[in-house]
């Protein structure tokens, strides 16, 4: 089981799911119409490190985070 957290303005509770790659997470999240906009503009971190491939492997207990567009300052 891995968890998916939605940071900042996304306003969704943490999800838990079975997934062994980020691609599998993407397939699940694409089923949720309320996430359509965020899937297109969010960066993704696994265990608080930004990642750049859907082939990123996931293991039990991993945390996937979605980071929407930022504007600090």
């Amino acid at each position: 089981m891995i968890t998916v957290e939605f940071l900042g303005p996304i306003q969704k509770p943490v999800l838990s799911m079975e997934a062994s790659t980020l691609r599998e997470v993407a397939e699940v999240l694409k089923q949720d119409p309320s996430l359509a906009e965020w899937i297109e503009n969010c960066a993704v971190a696994v265990n608080d490190t930004l990642v750049g491939s859907l082939d990123t492997l996931l293991k039990e207990g991993d945390k996937v985070s979605l980071l929407p567009p930022v504007c600090g300052g």
């Binding site: 900042g8 980020l22 993407a26 993704v44 930004l50 929407p68 567009p69 600090g72 300052g73």
Partner: protein
Amino acid sequence: MLELHNGALNVPEILARWYALEASSNYGAYIPFVGTVRAEDAIEGLSFDVYEPILTSWFDAWVAKVAPLGAVLKMAHSRGDVYLHESSYIAAVFSPKRRVALETIDAFVEDFKASAPIWKYDLKNGQRLYALDRSTAIVGAGLLGGNV
């Protein structure tokens, strides 16, 4: 040094404290950048969410990047609500030579705006509205949609 504060930053206290910390460190330049909430579009203020784990690793990477130049970075940012004419962000660089400090503060603040995991909201009519139109997608965004 990375500081997160609830609400507005106490600018005089932070700048003076940072100055005192490095006053005897033999730096020739101290360049602070102070970000202040301006009155525009009828906002009452701004509000911020901060994701500390990735903010910390982003900041630590910058500290390591400028260390070979002899530069030291400090940064403070607000969490929660900050009202008009208050400060939500201070960045500062100390370095032996002014050119390194000037170039570092420019590059650091620009990368902060593009990369630091902080989300801004307008406080307007009692609502907290995500400022999407002023926000920047982090490099690599769209991965889940296959857009990278």
